[in-house]
Symmetry: C2
Subunit: 475 residues, 2 copies
C-alpha cells in the first residue's frame, strides 16, 4: 500500500526506531539533575544536539530542540521580532510560507506589528530582486522557506540571505521540507525544521539561532533549552530525531536516493499530462525538491479524487478547497495563480518502489475519468470547449453585451468551472460568459481555466451574492 | 541503584513502553489526513483521549494533549486569563505553585496584568478561608496545585474549587504530582498534568478545560488539538501516556501501592530525625502525597549532600540554594518559612523496594556526618550551641549592645548558619549574635535555625553589603 505523502510526515526511519528504543531506558530522567540518571540523559541530549547541529551546519550551542517544527517557527519568529522591536516591527515573508509562519505573522500583526508578503511567480518562486526592494529599513525579520511544502519549488535562500545580511536584517529559514536532503546553504540567521519530515519521530522540532543574531524568547520563561523552548525535554524522541538525520546524511545512498526519486518524480511530471487530459503540473520543473510533484486536474473534485486514490491504495494530499476545513483553496496555489481544483500532491518517501509509481500512473487516469463522469462532465467537454462554437440555444442572447450568464451560486468547486466549460461553445468567438459564483475557489480556478483553455479572462465584477467572473471566448 | 526522584520524572512504565512500541508503526502519519495512515493515527489519538479523559474525570472533548505539563500550564493560564480580560486581570495563585505557574504569572504581569499570592502555613498548605478572602471581583483566574511537588502537601482543592465556583472564578489545578494517584475531585475548571510524572514518556502533557469555562487560546493559531496546542501531534507518545495512566488506574495494586509507599515514607519521616541530629522534616504529616517526603539538615551543604548520596547510589533532589542555578533557595521552602539548607526530597517510584528505603536510612546518617565534618562543624555544635555559654574570647565585647558580630559575607549556605551555631555559646543568655551575610539562603535559614534551636530571631537590618541578621541567645 504505497504512501505518497512524505511531505506531510515520513514513516519512521529504522535508525530512529532503534535509537528511540535504546534511549527509552536511559533518557527518561531530568537532564538538569546531577545524579547518574540525569547525567545519562544529559549526555544523550548533548550528543543529539551535536549530531543535529552538524547536520544543520551550525554550532551545538546555537541549536535547541522544540516539540515540533511548528513551535520552532512560532518561537523563532516571535523571539527574532521581539529582539528587533526598536529597529522596526515589519515582518516580511513569502506568500507561499507554511501556515505556521502565517499564523506567527497574524499574532504579530494583532500585537501591533506589520507584515508584508513577497509575491511568487507561477512556479511558486520568490524573485531575489523583489526581496531586495522589499527590505525596507523598518524590516525586523524576513522568513523564507528553503523549499515549498506543496509544490516543491526551491527558494533562492542563498541570494536572499546575502541581501538580508547586507541590509542587516535576520533571515529565518523554514527548512522543514529540504533538511532531509541536505543543509541549507547561505548566511541565514535562524532555521527551523521538523523531525517527522525526515523519518524522525513526531514530537521533535529544532530551532537554530546563529551567534550574533539578536533573540529575545517570548512567553513564559523556562530554564530548559537555553530558555528558548519550555518544557521537560523529550530525550528519547530527540535522540531518535538526531540519529535518523545523521543516518540520512552519512549514508552515501541518500544522494543516490535523491537522484532516484527525482527520476521517478520526473516520470510523473511527464506522464501525468500525457495520460490525463486537462491537467496542469505546477511548481518549478528544475529547482525543486527531489521527491515532490503536484498537479491539478480540471473538472475534478479534490476530495473525491483523494478518496478514490485512497481506495485504490494511494495516500496523497491536496490543496483543493474541498479538502480544507475553510473551504478555501491552499494559499500556496492561490499565490501562484494556478489551478486549485483536483489538486494532488505526491511526495515519495525514501525507498519508494518504482513499481508503485508505475501503478499510480496506471490507476490515476481511470480514477480521474470516473470522478469526471460522476460529476457529469461530458467526455468531450475539453474538445467541445476549445472547438467550434455550437449554435447558441434559442433562449440565449449572445449578441447582448452581457453575453451568456451561468448561475453557479451555492455550488462548490469544480462545478462552476464545469458549467463554464459546458457553455463556452454556445457563445460566438468574441462573446462572453459570465459565471456567478460564491465559491472561493472560482476566483482562482476560472482564470486558471482560461489560461489552460486559451480563453480570455476579462475580470471579476462584484455581484449581489458572490462575484461575477467574465470570460471572453477566444477559440 | 535506587532512584528516589519520581516527583521529577518517573521511569517509563512497562505499559507505556509497550504502547509506545506498538504505536510507532501506526501513529506516525498526520491524523488530520483522510487516507488510511491518517485514519489509523486519528483512531489511536481518539482512543488515547478517551482513556486520558476517563482517568482525569472529564469529557474527551474537554481534553487536549500538549508537549509537556509546563506547556499545559502556560497555555491553560494564558487562555483562561485572556477569556476573562473584561472581568479583570488579577491572577491569584498559591505561593508554592510549580515554577511553570510563576513564569506564566510573570508574563501576565509584564503584559499589564496583576498577580497575587496566597500564603501557605509551615506545612505548605493554603487555607481555604484565606482563598475566599482573596477572591476579589477582578480576579480572572485562580491557580492551585493538587499537591506540592517539593514537600508533598495536599492542597484543599475541593474547598477552593467550591469557593471559586460560588464566586464565578475559574480554578486551574496543576495536578502534575497527584494525577498518578487518582483524579482530582471538585469543581475545578482547568487541569494540567504531565505524563512523565506517572511513568508515561517525556514529551506529553495534558490540559483539560471543562465545558462552560471561557477559554481563548493565545499565541499563533493551529488547527490541531482544538486550537489549544499547536504542532504536529506526538501520537506514539500520547498513546503511551494514556495507556500507562489507564493501567495505573485500572490496576487494583495501585491503591495497595499507595498504601505501601505511604508506609515507607512514614518510616523515613519517623526514622530520619531519630538517626540524624538537627533535621527538620517538612510538609503536612497526614494530608500528603503517598510517595514523597522532604527534610532539611542543619549545617549541611545540599549540593555536597546530593553528590554524596549519588555516590552511595541514591538519586534524590533538593530545594537548597546551592543546588539551584540562581543560588536562591526553593520558593516553596521560602514560602513555608522552613529550613532550606541540606534539603533532601525523597520521592519513591512505584515498586520501590523496602530494602532500598532501609539502606537509605542506613547510609544517610553517615553521609550527613561526613559532610558536616568536611564543613568543619564540631560534632557537638548542636549541644554546645544550646548548652552552657563558654567564656567569651578576650577580644569580644559581649556586654556591648551590638553583641557579637559574625562576618559571613561572601560565604554561602550553610556557612553563615554554622558560624552562628559556633559562636552562640560565646554570648551570655540574653546577648545577641549578628550575622552579616549576603547569601540569599541566610534570610530563611537563620530564622529557621532559631526555631529549631529554640533561640530568638530578633530580625534583619540592612547592611552596607547583604543584610545583618540578629539572633538573641535564649538557652
Amino acid at each position: 500500500m504505497p504512501y505518497f505523502d512524505a511531505a506531510s510526515a515520513a514513516p519512521l526511519h529504522p535508525v530512529a526506531r532503534e535509537a528511540l528504543l535504546a534511549s527509552l531506558d536511559e533518557g527518561w530522567a531530568d537532564p538538569a539533575r546531577l545524579y547518574r540518571e540525569g547525567r545519562r540523559g544529559r549526555l544523550l541530549l548533548d550528543a543529539a544536539r551535536e549530531a543535529a547541529a552538524e547536520a544543520v551546519g551550525c554550532r551545538p550551542d546555537e541549536l535547541v530542540f522544540t516539540p515540533s517544527g511548528t513551535q520552532a517557527v512560532h518561537r523563532g519568529v516571535a523571539g527574532a521580532l521581539a529582539a528587533r522591536r526598536r529597529v522596526g516591527r515589519r515582518l516580511l515573508y513569502s506568500a507561499v510560507e507554511h501556515s505556521s509562519v502565517l499564523h506567527a505573522a497574524e499574532v504579530h500583526e494583532a500585537a501591533g506589528g506589520t507584515r508584508a508578503e513577497l509575491a511568487v511567480d507561477r512556479t511558486g518562486r520568490v524573485a531575489a530582486d523583489e526581496a531586495s526592494a522589499a527590505l525596507t529599513p523598518d524590516t525586523a525579520l524576513v522568513c523564507l522557506q528553503s523549499a515549498n511544502h506543496e509544490v516543491g519549488t526551491e527558494q533562492p535562500v542563498e541570494e536572499v540571505a546575502a541581501l538580508c545580511q547586507e541590509a542587516g536584517v535576520p533571515l529565518l529559514v523554514d527548512a522543514a521540507q529540504s533538511l532531509p536532503w541536505g543543509p541549507v546553504p547561505g548566511a541565514w540567521s535562524l532555521l527551523a525544521a521538523s523531525a517527522h519530515k525526515w523519518g524522525g519521530p513526531p514530537g521533535v522540532g529544532l530551532l537554530a539561532v546563529r551567534k550574533g543574531t539578536r533573540f529575545a524568547p517570548q512567553g513564559p520563561y523556562d530554564e530548559r533549552e537555553s530558555g528558548r523552548s519550555p518544557g521537560f525535554e523529550n530525550i528519547p524522541g530527540i535522540v531518535a530525531a538526531a540519529a535518523s538525520l545523521r543516518a540520512l546524511r552519512a549514508a552515501p545512498e541518500t544522494m543516490d536516493e535523491a537522484v532516484r526519486l527525482r527520476r521517478l518524480v520526473e516520470r510523473i511530471r511527464t506522464r501525468v499530462p500525457e495520460l490525463v487530459p486537462d491537467v496542469e503540473v505546477v511548481g518549478d520543473p528544475v529547482r525543486r525538491l527531489p521527491h515532490l510533484v503536484t498537479f491539478s486536474c480540471l473538472y475534478v473534485d479534490g476530495e473525491t479524487l483523494l478518496h478514490e486514490l485512497d481506495r485504490a491504495g494511494f495516500s496523497v494530499s491536496s490543496g483543493s478547497s474541498c479538502t480544507s476545513s475553510t473551504l478555501a483553496p491552499s494559499h500556496v496555489l492561490r499565490a501562484m495563480g494556478v489551478l486549485s481544483e483536483g489538486n494532488v500532491r505526491v511526495s515519495l518517501p525514501y525507498g519508494t518502489a518504482e513499481a508503485d509509481v508505475d501503478r499510480f500512473l496506471e490507476v490515476l487516469p481511470q480514477v480521474v475519468r470516473s470522478v469526471r463522469e460522476r460529476l457529469g462532465v461530458p467526455a468531450d467537454v475539453a474538445a467541445t470547449a476549445g472547438g467550434a462554437a455550437a449554435a447558441p440555444a434559442p433562449h440565449e442572447e449572445p449578441d447582448e453585451p452581457a453575453g451568456l450568464v451561468v448561475d453557479s451560486l451555492g455550488r462548490r468547486c469544480p462545478i462552476p468551472v464545469i458549467e463554464l466549460a459546458k457553455v463556452i461553445g454556445q457563445v460566438p468567438v468574441g462573446g462572453t460568459v459570465t459565471v456567478l459564483s460564491d465559491d472561493e475557489a472560482a476566483r482562482q480556478d476560472i482564470p486558471a481555466w482560461c489560461a489552460m483553455r486559451d480563453q480570455e479572462y476579462v475580470g471579476e465584477r462584484s455581484a449581489e451574492r458572490g462575484a461575477a467572473y467574465v470570460v471572453r471566448r477566444r477559440v
